[in-house]
Amino acid sequence: MESATVALGHDHADEHHGPPEANQSSRIDRQTLGILLFIVSEVMLFGAFFASYFFLRVVVNPSAWPPHPYELPVAVAGVNTAILVSSSFTVHYALEAIRRGNRAGLKLGLLLTWMLGATFLFIQLNEYVHLGFSARDLSFGSIFYSLTGLHGAHVFVGLMLLTFASIRAFRGHFGPDAEDHLGVEVPGIYWHFVDVMWIVVFVTVYIL
């Protein structure tokens, strides 16, 4: 009898389908916490490379930087910087468009952003080919390729995210409501982060 009651009670509890609600112990909501942790981890990753860069530049090679006879193409990198910064405006335009329900604007913005990002990566690779030094040439070459290569890898990942977002946009996904265009908003935030990191890399490596 007792076991039958227990069994009945158990059946009643099973009426709730699906997994239980996730416990939220943090006072910061989980999306904000997730993005913050991601950005902090990325900043630490880039920070480690910047620390190496300044150590090599200031402590190991205090005399000439870049070491003679190496030179960096500042003008080309400057144009590339302008291209990447403008891509942040186009991805912002894409999101503003979908917030207003303008699907054509979303597609145009995403395509422009993708093309600008691909152009940036192409110019970066072309620069590598024509630089005249490799990652094996002194610590300068190693840290230059490490820092710019790390950023290039992030651009590549961003392009993949934009590719998926563009395919979905052309298939008619996404809508004006916030929850309906999260698939563009998150790549957009990532793209802005990549853009900000390039500004820091450009100023540090090419200008200072």
């Binding site: 910061i28 904000t32 991805v91 916030a178 908003e185 957009g188 935030i189 900000v196 100023v203 200072l208």
Partner: protein
């Protein structure tokens, strides 16, 4: 999706701010010396770190 507190719009504003800050470092470096530009850049990074910390604290207290 009421939980999202960081929007693309807010991050885009930071892209513009960082771009302007970068332009100021470039201008200062070209007008003076790289050391001056680097020090100014360090000041800006410290300011941004303090601002970010205060923002997180505000968010934490707000929630």
């Amino acid at each position: 999706m009421a939980g999202v507190k960081i929007s693309e719009e807010a991050v885009f504003r930071w892209v513009v701010i960082v771009a302007l800050a970068g332009a100021s470092v470039i201008a200062l470096t070209l007008l003076t010396r790289p050391l001056v530009g680097a020090l100014w850049g360090l000041v800006l990074v410290c300011w941004a770190a303090v601002h970010a910390y205060r923002w997180v604290e505000r968010k934490r207290r707000g929630s």
